[in-house]
Symmetry: C2
DNA sequence: ACCGTACATGTCAGAACTTACATGCCAATC
DNA sequence: GATTGGCATGTAAGTTCTGACATGTACGGT
Protein backbone atom coordinates (compact mmCIF):
# COMPACT_ATOMS: atom_id res chain seq x y z
CA UNK A 1 0.00 0.00 0.00
CA UNK A 2 3.03 2.28 -0.12
CA UNK A 3 2.29 3.66 -3.58
CA UNK A 4 -1.03 4.90 -2.29
CA UNK A 5 0.60 6.76 0.57
CA UNK A 6 3.46 8.05 -1.56
CA UNK A 7 0.87 9.66 -3.86
CA UNK A 8 -1.06 11.10 -0.92
CA UNK A 9 2.18 12.52 0.47
CA UNK A 10 3.18 14.15 -2.80
CA UNK A 11 -0.29 15.63 -3.24
CA UNK A 12 -0.19 16.93 0.34
CA UNK A 13 2.81 19.02 -0.70
CA UNK A 14 1.04 20.52 -3.69
CA UNK A 15 -1.77 19.65 -6.13
CA UNK A 16 -0.36 17.85 -9.18
CA UNK A 17 -1.25 15.92 -12.30
CA UNK A 18 -0.38 12.26 -12.85
CA UNK A 19 2.32 13.32 -15.25
CA UNK A 20 3.93 15.59 -12.66
CA UNK A 21 3.70 12.89 -10.02
CA UNK A 22 5.45 10.47 -12.37
CA UNK A 23 8.30 12.96 -12.72
CA UNK A 24 8.53 13.46 -8.94
CA UNK A 25 8.96 9.71 -8.52
CA UNK A 26 11.78 9.77 -11.04
CA UNK A 27 13.49 12.84 -9.62
CA UNK A 28 12.98 13.29 -5.89
CA UNK A 29 11.73 9.91 -4.83
CA UNK A 30 13.87 7.53 -6.88
CA UNK A 31 16.07 6.65 -3.90
CA UNK A 32 13.03 5.70 -1.79
CA UNK A 33 10.28 4.44 -4.03
CA UNK A 34 9.77 3.85 -7.70
CA UNK A 35 6.58 3.82 -9.78
CA UNK A 36 5.84 4.21 -13.47
CA UNK A 37 2.95 6.11 -15.00
CA UNK A 38 1.09 2.89 -15.83
CA UNK A 39 0.81 2.24 -12.12
CA UNK A 40 0.17 5.83 -11.09
CA UNK A 41 -2.83 6.66 -13.30
CA UNK A 42 -4.96 3.69 -12.18
CA UNK A 43 -4.02 4.33 -8.54
CA UNK A 44 -5.12 7.97 -8.82
CA UNK A 45 -8.47 6.70 -10.05
CA UNK A 46 -8.79 4.42 -7.02
CA UNK A 47 -7.77 7.18 -4.61
CA UNK A 48 -10.37 9.50 -6.12
CA UNK A 49 -13.04 6.81 -5.88
CA UNK A 50 -12.08 6.34 -2.21
CA UNK A 51 -12.47 10.08 -1.58
CA UNK A 52 -8.85 10.53 -0.48
CA UNK A 53 -8.02 12.86 -3.36
CA UNK A 54 -10.17 14.95 -5.68
CA UNK A 55 -9.95 16.40 -9.16
CA UNK A 56 -9.39 20.15 -8.88
CA UNK A 57 -8.86 21.14 -12.49
CA UNK A 58 -8.27 20.10 -16.06
CA UNK A 59 -5.61 21.92 -18.05
CA UNK A 60 -3.93 21.81 -21.42
CA UNK A 61 -3.40 18.48 -23.18
CA UNK A 62 -6.23 16.88 -21.17
CA UNK A 63 -4.16 17.12 -18.01
CA UNK A 64 -5.98 16.44 -14.75
CA UNK A 65 -4.83 18.05 -11.51
CA UNK A 66 -5.62 16.32 -8.22
CA UNK A 67 -5.48 17.57 -4.64
CA UNK A 68 -5.58 15.67 -1.35
CA UNK A 69 -8.86 15.82 0.61
CA UNK A 70 -9.30 16.06 4.38
CA UNK A 71 -10.00 12.34 4.48
CA UNK A 72 -6.76 11.83 2.56
CA UNK A 73 -4.82 13.90 5.07
CA UNK A 74 -6.27 11.89 7.94
CA UNK A 75 -5.29 8.64 6.24
CA UNK A 76 -1.80 9.90 5.46
CA UNK A 77 -1.18 10.93 9.05
CA UNK A 78 -2.57 7.62 10.33
CA UNK A 79 -0.20 5.70 8.09
CA UNK A 80 2.87 7.79 8.96
CA UNK A 81 2.33 7.83 12.72
CA UNK A 82 0.27 4.80 13.66
CA UNK A 83 0.96 2.07 11.12
CA UNK A 84 3.86 -0.24 11.90
CA UNK A 85 6.61 0.47 9.33
CA UNK A 86 7.64 -2.28 6.98
CA UNK A 87 11.44 -2.12 7.32
CA UNK A 88 12.16 -4.52 4.47
CA UNK A 89 13.90 -3.05 1.46
CA UNK A 90 14.35 -3.87 -2.19
CA UNK A 91 17.57 -2.45 -3.53
CA UNK A 92 19.33 -4.14 -6.39
CA UNK A 93 22.38 -1.95 -5.73
CA UNK A 94 22.47 -3.11 -2.13
CA UNK A 95 22.24 -6.72 -3.25
CA UNK A 96 25.12 -6.20 -5.68
CA UNK A 97 27.25 -4.64 -2.94
CA UNK A 98 26.48 -7.60 -0.70
CA UNK A 99 27.58 -10.07 -3.37
CA UNK A 100 30.76 -8.36 -4.64
CA UNK A 101 33.05 -10.41 -2.36
CA UNK A 102 32.26 -13.33 -4.67
CA UNK A 103 34.07 -11.64 -7.57
CA UNK A 104 37.81 -11.77 -8.25
CA UNK A 105 39.88 -8.65 -7.54
CA UNK A 106 39.74 -7.22 -11.09
CA UNK A 107 35.96 -7.61 -11.49
CA UNK A 108 35.42 -6.30 -7.99
CA UNK A 109 37.44 -3.19 -8.65
CA UNK A 110 35.56 -2.56 -11.88
CA UNK A 111 32.14 -2.75 -10.26
CA UNK A 112 33.24 -0.57 -7.32
CA UNK A 113 34.45 2.07 -9.77
CA UNK A 114 31.16 1.99 -11.62
CA UNK A 115 29.32 2.44 -8.32
CA UNK A 116 31.63 5.25 -7.23
CA UNK A 117 30.95 7.16 -10.44
CA UNK A 118 27.23 6.89 -9.73
CA UNK A 119 27.58 7.97 -6.09
CA UNK A 120 29.62 11.01 -7.08
CA UNK A 121 27.00 11.94 -9.64
CA UNK A 122 24.25 11.71 -6.99
CA UNK A 123 26.32 13.68 -4.54
CA UNK A 124 26.87 16.50 -7.03
CA UNK A 125 23.13 16.66 -7.76
CA UNK A 126 22.26 16.78 -4.05
CA UNK A 127 24.82 19.47 -3.33
CA UNK A 128 23.48 21.55 -6.22
CA UNK A 129 19.99 21.14 -4.77
CA UNK A 130 21.23 22.24 -1.35
CA UNK A 131 22.79 25.34 -2.89
CA UNK A 132 19.53 26.24 -4.63
CA UNK A 133 17.61 25.76 -1.37
CA UNK A 134 20.07 27.97 0.55
CA UNK A 135 19.38 30.82 -1.89
CA UNK A 136 15.62 30.44 -1.75
CA UNK A 137 13.56 33.07 0.04
CA UNK A 138 11.32 30.62 1.92
CA UNK A 139 12.92 28.04 4.19
CA UNK A 140 12.73 24.64 2.55
CA UNK A 141 11.23 21.99 4.84
CA UNK A 142 12.89 19.17 2.91
CA UNK A 143 16.40 20.52 3.51
CA UNK A 144 17.19 17.96 6.27
CA UNK A 145 16.31 15.12 3.86
CA UNK A 146 18.71 16.53 1.29
CA UNK A 147 21.36 16.76 3.98
CA UNK A 148 20.81 13.11 4.93
CA UNK A 149 21.18 12.11 1.28
CA UNK A 150 24.47 13.99 1.12
CA UNK A 151 25.79 12.33 4.27
CA UNK A 152 24.83 8.81 3.23
CA UNK A 153 26.32 9.22 -0.23
CA UNK A 154 29.46 10.65 1.37
CA UNK A 155 30.07 7.61 3.56
CA UNK A 156 29.21 5.33 0.64
CA UNK A 157 31.76 7.12 -1.53
CA UNK A 158 34.42 6.89 1.18
CA UNK A 159 33.75 3.19 1.63
CA UNK A 160 33.94 2.54 -2.11
CA UNK A 161 37.23 4.42 -2.37
CA UNK A 162 38.66 2.33 0.47
CA UNK A 163 37.55 -0.88 -1.22
CA UNK A 164 39.06 0.18 -4.53
CA UNK A 165 42.45 1.01 -2.99
CA UNK A 166 42.47 -2.09 -0.76
CA UNK A 167 41.53 -4.53 -3.55
CA UNK A 168 45.05 -4.65 -4.90
CA UNK B 1 15.29 -10.99 -12.02
CA UNK B 2 17.06 -9.98 -8.81
CA UNK B 3 15.64 -12.82 -6.74
CA UNK B 4 17.22 -15.26 -9.15
CA UNK B 5 20.64 -13.67 -8.74
CA UNK B 6 20.27 -13.24 -5.01
CA UNK B 7 19.72 -16.99 -4.72
CA UNK B 8 22.66 -17.76 -7.02
CA UNK B 9 24.83 -15.47 -4.90
CA UNK B 10 23.83 -17.07 -1.64
CA UNK B 11 24.40 -20.56 -3.06
CA UNK B 12 27.80 -19.46 -4.38
CA UNK B 13 28.77 -18.82 -0.76
CA UNK B 14 27.71 -22.25 0.39
CA UNK B 15 25.23 -25.00 -0.58
CA UNK B 16 21.94 -24.50 1.24
CA UNK B 17 18.34 -25.63 1.46
CA UNK B 18 15.37 -23.42 0.64
CA UNK B 19 14.66 -23.10 4.32
CA UNK B 20 18.18 -21.89 5.06
CA UNK B 21 17.99 -19.44 2.15
CA UNK B 22 14.73 -18.05 3.51
CA UNK B 23 16.48 -17.39 6.82
CA UNK B 24 19.44 -15.72 5.12
CA UNK B 25 17.04 -13.34 3.41
CA UNK B 26 15.53 -12.48 6.78
CA UNK B 27 18.82 -12.12 8.60
CA UNK B 28 21.69 -10.98 6.38
CA UNK B 29 19.87 -9.68 3.33
CA UNK B 30 16.88 -7.90 4.84
CA UNK B 31 18.41 -4.46 4.26
CA UNK B 32 18.98 -5.20 0.56
CA UNK B 33 16.37 -7.61 -0.68
CA UNK B 34 13.38 -9.39 0.75
CA UNK B 35 11.78 -12.67 -0.26
CA UNK B 36 9.50 -15.13 1.47
CA UNK B 37 9.61 -18.90 1.24
CA UNK B 38 6.60 -18.97 -1.06
CA UNK B 39 8.68 -17.15 -3.65
CA UNK B 40 11.95 -18.97 -2.96
CA UNK B 41 10.83 -22.58 -3.41
CA UNK B 42 9.32 -22.11 -6.88
CA UNK B 43 12.35 -20.05 -7.97
CA UNK B 44 14.73 -22.83 -6.85
CA UNK B 45 12.76 -25.20 -9.05
CA UNK B 46 13.16 -22.87 -12.03
CA UNK B 47 16.87 -22.39 -11.39
CA UNK B 48 17.37 -26.14 -11.23
CA UNK B 49 15.41 -26.62 -14.46
CA UNK B 50 17.64 -23.97 -16.07
CA UNK B 51 20.76 -25.84 -14.91
CA UNK B 52 22.06 -22.93 -12.86
CA UNK B 53 21.84 -24.84 -9.58
CA UNK B 54 21.64 -28.54 -8.79
CA UNK B 55 20.29 -30.74 -6.02
CA UNK B 56 23.24 -32.08 -4.03
CA UNK B 57 21.50 -33.89 -1.21
CA UNK B 58 18.35 -34.60 0.69
CA UNK B 59 18.50 -34.50 4.45
CA UNK B 60 16.27 -34.83 7.45
CA UNK B 61 12.66 -33.60 7.28
CA UNK B 62 12.65 -33.86 3.46
CA UNK B 63 15.11 -31.00 3.21
CA UNK B 64 16.75 -30.47 -0.16
CA UNK B 65 20.20 -28.93 -0.44
CA UNK B 66 21.16 -27.10 -3.61
CA UNK B 67 24.52 -25.96 -4.92
CA UNK B 68 25.40 -23.54 -7.71
CA UNK B 69 26.65 -25.08 -10.98
CA UNK B 70 29.39 -23.76 -13.26
CA UNK B 71 26.71 -22.34 -15.56
CA UNK B 72 25.22 -20.63 -12.51
CA UNK B 73 28.56 -19.10 -11.59
CA UNK B 74 28.98 -17.79 -15.14
CA UNK B 75 25.52 -16.24 -15.07
CA UNK B 76 26.12 -14.70 -11.62
CA UNK B 77 29.35 -13.08 -12.73
CA UNK B 78 27.76 -11.84 -15.94
CA UNK B 79 24.98 -10.19 -13.98
CA UNK B 80 27.26 -8.63 -11.38
CA UNK B 81 29.83 -7.27 -13.82
CA UNK B 82 28.18 -6.80 -17.19
CA UNK B 83 24.49 -6.11 -16.58
CA UNK B 84 23.52 -2.48 -16.13
CA UNK B 85 22.43 -2.05 -12.47
CA UNK B 86 18.88 -0.99 -11.76
CA UNK B 87 19.46 1.83 -9.27
CA UNK B 88 15.81 2.22 -8.32
CA UNK B 89 14.90 1.35 -4.76
CA UNK B 90 11.85 0.37 -2.81
CA UNK B 91 12.13 1.36 0.81
CA UNK B 92 9.06 2.14 2.82
CA UNK B 93 11.28 3.56 5.57
CA UNK B 94 12.91 5.92 3.09
CA UNK B 95 9.51 7.02 1.86
CA UNK B 96 8.39 7.71 5.44
CA UNK B 97 11.52 9.75 6.11
CA UNK B 98 10.85 11.73 2.95
CA UNK B 99 7.30 12.52 4.03
CA UNK B 100 7.87 13.35 7.73
CA UNK B 101 8.06 17.13 7.07
CA UNK B 102 4.30 16.94 6.45
CA UNK B 103 3.68 16.04 10.10
CA UNK B 104 3.33 18.49 12.96
CA UNK B 105 6.20 18.77 15.47
CA UNK B 106 4.81 16.29 18.01
CA UNK B 107 4.02 13.55 15.47
CA UNK B 108 7.33 14.13 13.75
CA UNK B 109 9.26 13.73 16.96
CA UNK B 110 7.41 10.53 17.77
CA UNK B 111 8.17 8.90 14.43
CA UNK B 112 11.83 9.97 14.58
CA UNK B 113 12.14 8.39 18.00
CA UNK B 114 10.62 5.17 16.74
CA UNK B 115 13.09 5.15 13.86
CA UNK B 116 16.02 5.94 16.15
CA UNK B 117 15.17 2.97 18.37
CA UNK B 118 15.24 0.75 15.30
CA UNK B 119 18.53 2.17 14.02
CA UNK B 120 20.19 1.65 17.41
CA UNK B 121 18.95 -1.93 17.47
CA UNK B 122 20.43 -2.55 14.02
CA UNK B 123 23.67 -0.89 14.99
CA UNK B 124 24.05 -3.07 18.08
CA UNK B 125 23.44 -6.21 15.99
CA UNK B 126 26.01 -5.16 13.37
CA UNK B 127 28.61 -4.31 16.02
CA UNK B 128 28.06 -7.67 17.67
CA UNK B 129 28.56 -9.33 14.28
CA UNK B 130 31.77 -7.38 13.74
CA UNK B 131 33.05 -8.52 17.14
CA UNK B 132 32.32 -12.17 16.29
CA UNK B 133 34.10 -11.78 12.95
CA UNK B 134 37.15 -10.21 14.60
CA UNK B 135 37.51 -13.27 16.83
CA UNK B 136 37.10 -15.75 13.98
CA UNK B 137 40.13 -17.74 12.82
CA UNK B 138 39.50 -17.25 9.10
CA UNK B 139 39.29 -13.72 7.72
CA UNK B 140 35.68 -12.91 6.89
CA UNK B 141 35.24 -11.61 3.33
CA UNK B 142 31.97 -9.90 4.22
CA UNK B 143 33.56 -7.75 6.93
CA UNK B 144 33.62 -4.59 4.72
CA UNK B 145 29.89 -4.93 4.12
CA UNK B 146 29.27 -5.09 7.86
CA UNK B 147 31.46 -2.02 8.29
CA UNK B 148 29.43 -0.15 5.66
CA UNK B 149 26.22 -1.08 7.47
CA UNK B 150 27.65 0.28 10.71
CA UNK B 151 28.69 3.55 9.09
CA UNK B 152 25.37 4.13 7.34
CA UNK B 153 23.39 3.39 10.48
CA UNK B 154 25.70 5.69 12.43
CA UNK B 155 25.03 8.70 10.20
CA UNK B 156 21.33 7.85 10.15
CA UNK B 157 21.29 7.77 13.95
CA UNK B 158 23.12 11.10 14.16
CA UNK B 159 20.71 12.67 11.70
CA UNK B 160 17.69 11.39 13.62
CA UNK B 161 19.07 12.71 16.91
CA UNK B 162 19.58 16.12 15.32
CA UNK B 163 16.03 16.13 13.99
CA UNK B 164 14.62 15.15 17.37
CA UNK B 165 16.46 17.91 19.22
CA UNK B 166 15.73 20.52 16.53
CA UNK B 167 12.00 19.76 16.29
CA UNK B 168 11.18 21.81 19.36
C1' DA C 1 2.81 -40.97 25.43
C1' DC C 2 1.70 -36.23 24.53
C1' DC C 3 2.53 -31.47 23.33
C1' DG C 4 4.67 -27.56 21.58
C1' DT C 5 8.03 -25.67 18.70
C1' DA C 6 11.20 -25.21 15.15
C1' DC C 7 12.26 -27.45 10.87
C1' DA C 8 10.97 -27.99 6.01
C1' DT C 9 8.45 -27.74 1.63
C1' DG C 10 4.83 -26.69 -1.18
C1' DT C 11 0.51 -24.34 -3.65
C1' DC C 12 -2.69 -20.75 -4.82
C1' DA C 13 -5.49 -16.52 -5.22
C1' DG C 14 -5.05 -11.92 -5.42
C1' DA C 15 -2.30 -7.62 -5.36
C1' DA C 16 1.51 -5.03 -7.07
C1' DC C 17 4.52 -4.09 -10.68
C1' DT C 18 6.73 -4.01 -15.53
C1' DT C 19 6.76 -3.59 -20.40
C1' DA C 20 4.69 -2.69 -24.38
C1' DC C 21 1.08 -0.84 -26.93
C1' DA C 22 -2.05 2.99 -27.98
C1' DT C 23 -3.85 7.64 -28.45
C1' DG C 24 -3.99 12.44 -28.67
C1' DC C 25 -2.30 17.54 -27.68
C1' DC C 26 0.62 21.52 -28.32
C1' DA C 27 4.80 24.16 -29.63
C1' DA C 28 8.89 24.79 -32.13
C1' DT C 29 11.63 24.13 -36.09
C1' DC C 30 12.38 23.26 -40.87
C1' DG D 1 2.25 22.79 -43.58
C1' DA D 2 4.91 18.80 -42.14
C1' DT D 3 7.67 16.75 -38.79
C1' DT D 4 9.62 16.15 -34.38
C1' DG D 5 9.62 16.05 -29.48
C1' DG D 6 7.93 16.70 -25.00
C1' DC D 7 3.47 16.79 -22.64
C1' DA D 8 -0.31 13.87 -21.00
C1' DT D 9 -3.29 9.89 -20.20
C1' DG D 10 -4.71 5.42 -20.66
C1' DT D 11 -4.99 -0.07 -21.24
C1' DA D 12 -3.49 -4.83 -21.23
C1' DA D 13 -0.66 -8.96 -20.93
C1' DG D 14 2.61 -11.02 -18.39
C1' DT D 15 5.68 -11.33 -14.25
C1' DT D 16 6.74 -10.82 -9.46
C1' DC D 17 5.40 -10.71 -4.86
C1' DT D 18 2.35 -11.29 -0.65
C1' DG D 19 -0.49 -13.67 2.57
C1' DA D 20 -3.01 -17.52 3.51
C1' DC D 21 -3.62 -22.26 3.33
C1' DA D 22 -1.78 -26.93 3.55
C1' DT D 23 1.14 -30.82 4.95
C1' DG D 24 4.42 -33.40 7.17
C1' DT D 25 9.06 -34.18 10.27
C1' DA D 26 12.11 -34.31 14.24
C1' DC D 27 13.29 -32.91 18.88
C1' DG D 28 12.90 -31.52 23.64
C1' DG D 29 10.30 -31.22 27.66
C1' DT D 30 6.80 -32.98 30.80
Amino acid sequence: MSLRHALLGLLARRPSSGYELTQMFDRSLSTSWHAGHSQIYPELGKLEAAGLIRLVGEGARRSKTYDITDAGRVELRRWLVEAEPDRSQRSESGLRLFLTPLLDAADRKQTFERDLAHVEHELAALKALRAVQADAAEPEVFAPQVELGIRINTVLGEWLREQISTAS
